[in-house]
């Protein structure tokens, strides 16, 4: 083979390789696109049909906001939304404190019984919610704690929220908060706390001046996760609420059981909006993660 022919053959081979690579890359893009379509299309269709001027969720019959008005006038739905918010806020606050303390202990100390505590903290995360739900149901029944409601005035709305629901939510949220805060703590160099102590800060002030400001993104992340899990939970609420108490997911479930209507689409779209807001908040927190302002304003 002449030198020219050889170089021609080589350049053909490299062209083929290049073409093959481009083709592969194109197919890969297509795959990625399909993957995201699979994730988003059902949600988008759901939102579209919440504006459908018909009882059908399959055939488009014109635009209306009738279903949203319907939803707003349904005091059952509104009440269940307040219930959801109340349960989520209270259980988030409680689990945030308890979970953060647990994370500090687990990440900053070596002690007897740590392995056991590790297991106890992880179990609520991995155990299926149906198992946890019936465990709590039996427990509240036999212990005599029962399903007593907490009568609360929540922004002027009178709620009756069973303690058992809040206790159950805190029980699974502690673990999630602890995991998120631990992850942040693990990234944080312990030497900073030692430096503070070396500079005459006692443990209390070390925590508030150094550990806490640096931990804040983790705590906020844990709070968001706990709030979302609490807002989303259906199974555990369903089993621990006794009779007649609805959070939004419980209400939606019983509506679905009665039949599909665009009104459910409207409620679902509202819940979707909530999730989007939470994602946006988590993004803002993530951005401020390293540059969070300190409590120190001396200079």
């Amino acid at each position: 083979m002449s030198e020219q022919a050889l170089s021609r053959a080589l350049s053909r081979r490299s062209r083929m390789a290049h073409l093959k690579k481009q083709l592969g890359e194109g197919l890969f893009h297509l795959y990625g696109l399909t993957g995201y379509l699979f994730l988003y299309l059902p949600i988008i269709i759901l939102v579209i049909f919440s504006f459908n001027d018909s009882r059908s969720t399959a055939q488009w019959a014109g635009f209306t906001t009738h279903w949203y008005a319907d939803m707003m006038n349904d005091h059952q739905i509104i009440l269940s939304l307040w219930n959801s918010l109340f349960v989520a806020i209270v259980s988030t606050l409680v689990s945030l404190v308890i979970g953060t303390l647990a994370a500090l202990a687990m990440e900053r100390y070596r002690f007897w019984g740590k392995l056991m505590m590790d297991a106890v903290l992880y179990l609520p995360i991995i155990i299926p919610d149906i198992a946890m739900a019936i465990m709590l149901l039996i427990f509240f029944d036999v212990s005599g704690i029962g399903f007593q409601p907490w009568k609360a005035n929540f922004f002027g709305v009178h709620l009756a929220v069973p303690y058992s629901v809040i206790i159950g939510h805190v029980a699974f949220n502690i673990s999630f908060v602890a995991v998120v805060v631990r992850a942040r703590l693990a990234q944080m160099d312990q030497v900073l706390e030692e430096a503070a102590q070396d500079l005459y800060a006692d443990p209390w002030r070390t925590f508030w001046r150094v550990t806490f400001p640096m931990l804040l993104p983790g705590i906020m992340g844990g709070a968001l996760l706990a709030f979302t899990l609490s807002m989303d939970d259906f199974v555990i609420t369903f089993f621990t609420s006794g009779a007649g108490f609805n959070t939004l997911p419980v209400r939606v479930f019983s509506m679905i059981k009665k039949g599909v209507t665009p009104k459910i689409n409207a409620v679902s779209s509202l819940m979707l909006l909530f999730s989007l807001v939470l994602v946006a908040i988590s993004l803002i927190i993530g951005k401020g993660g390293d540059e969070n302002s300190s409590a120190n304003t001396m200079f």
């Binding site: 160099d189 030497v191 900073l192 030692e194 430096a195 503070a196 102590q197 070396d198 500079l199 005459y200 800060a201 006692d202 443990p203 002030r205 070390t206 001046r209 150094v210 400001p213 640096m214 390293d290 969070n292 302002s293 300190s294 120190n296 001396m298 200079f299």
Partner: protein, 369 residues
């Protein structure tokens, strides 16, 4: 009453579970001293420093600062400050906030804090960088902030844990002399931990060489280099050659040793160490203390003093600019000889030649094997 030391350790032991990190260490560090703890990683030097700071509690023994037993006093109640290995600057505070932190914790009035922070930043030449965040500083600047943050509290003792470890070579050399000058100016006792023997030699008034949790030798840089009392110290500080043999005669400060190849050399016996005839021992001789001549040349007049002579074979030669480095074989043992390149005289020994090594017997050290 006994003299008061800035820091005194008495029989300090630290165990982590089964591991003994610091094994019965006793040290006395005088006021205003630049005292270094030198050793390889894991030798217990950092643990010892942390016990002085109160960041670790000794398993047994006692730590005293200016004669006061520290016991279980937490770090924030001890009159010492630390410069940490990777500076440990608070990333969420500015330079000025970092430096002011200790004073705020001690509830110093705000006016005074402002003044002292400015002074401290001036001392480390960082005036004008008050509002910067640690992230916006170079390695050398972070180092200075860490120093200012500690010194601003006017500690009785400043503890430094490999403070120059993260800097590049050139900056490290510059900071070494700067740090030494700073220490002389402020007059505070420095306890300095490093694994860099040159750094320790250059900066310290005294050095404690540590290995495997034990203090092997304490002394001035010169004492440590010139009169090591153990094989480890001789080997860890500077370069040295080891020749193994058997003690055959012990005289006035000098001992005769028969080497494995049958040659007899002399070496000085360290104070406080006793050897007996027939004992196996090691002769340590620094490369720059050995002279090399071709075997067929007569030994020169230096023969008049107590000199040792050792036939060897030259196997490698390196031209290093400021010096000439010879590698010779004595039996199976490699010995390195360094000759200062003081004039441009032609080299008389060549690879493959039979040569003779000479040294002043007082410069060689007899060490336990």
């Amino acid at each position: 009453m006994s003299e008061t030391y800035a820091v005194e350790l008495r029989n300090v032991v630290k165990q982590f579970g089964e591991v003994v990190a610091v094994n019965n260490v006793s040290l006395r560090i005088g006021e205003g001293e630049f005292f270094s703890m030198l050793g390889p990683s894991g030798c217990g030097k950092t643990t010892t420093l942390r016990m002085i700071a109160g960041l670790e509690m000794p398993t047994s023994g006692s730590v005293m600062i200016y004669g006061e037993e520290q016991g279980y006093l937490p770090p924030y109640q001890r009159p010492v400050n630390t410069v940490f290995q990777n500076y440990a600057l608070f990333p969420h505070m500015t330079v000025a906030q970092n430096v002011a932190f200790g004073l705020e914790m001690k509830k110093v009035p705000k006016d005074e804090i402002r003044r002292r922070v400015a002074e401290a930043l001036e001392l480390v030449q960082l005036t004008g960088k008050e509002k910067r965040r640690p992230k916006q500083l170079s390695g050398g600047q972070k180092q200075r902030v860490a120093l200012a943050r500690a010194l601003v509290n006017r500690p009785k003792v400043l503890l430094l844990d490999e403070p120059l470890g993260a800097l590049d070579l050139k900056l490290r050399k510059a900071m070494q002399s700067e740090l030494k000058a700073l220490q002389e100016r402020v007059g505070i006792t420095f306890v300095y931990v490093t694994h860099d023997q040159e750094e320790a030699l250059v900066m310290s008034d005294r050095i404690a060489v540590m290995n495997e949790g034990n203090v092997l030798q304490v002394g001035t840089p010169e004492e440590i280099y010139e009169t090591p009392t153990s094989r480890f110290v001789a080997d860890f500080i500077g370069k040295t050659n080891f020749l193994n043999g058997e003690v055959v005669e012990i005289g006035d400060g000098l001992a005769k040793v028969v080497l494995e190849n049958g040659a007899v050399v002399e070496a000085s016996v360290p104070e406080g160490k006793t050897f007996v005839r027939g004992e196996r021992a090691t002769v340590s001789i620094r490369p720059e203390r050995v002279y090399i001549t071709p075997a067929n040349e007569l030994p020169d007049v230096r023969n008049a003093k107590a000199f040792s002579h050792l036939p060897a074979k030259l196997v490698k030669f390196f031209y290093v600019g400021s010096e000439r480095r010879y590698v010779v074989l004595v039996g199976d043992t490699e010995v390195v000889v360094q000759a200062q390149n003081v004039d441009r005289s032609t080299r008389r020994c060549h690879t493959g030649d039979e040569v003779v090594l000479h040294w002043d017997s007082a410069q060689a050290r007899l060490l336990k094997e």
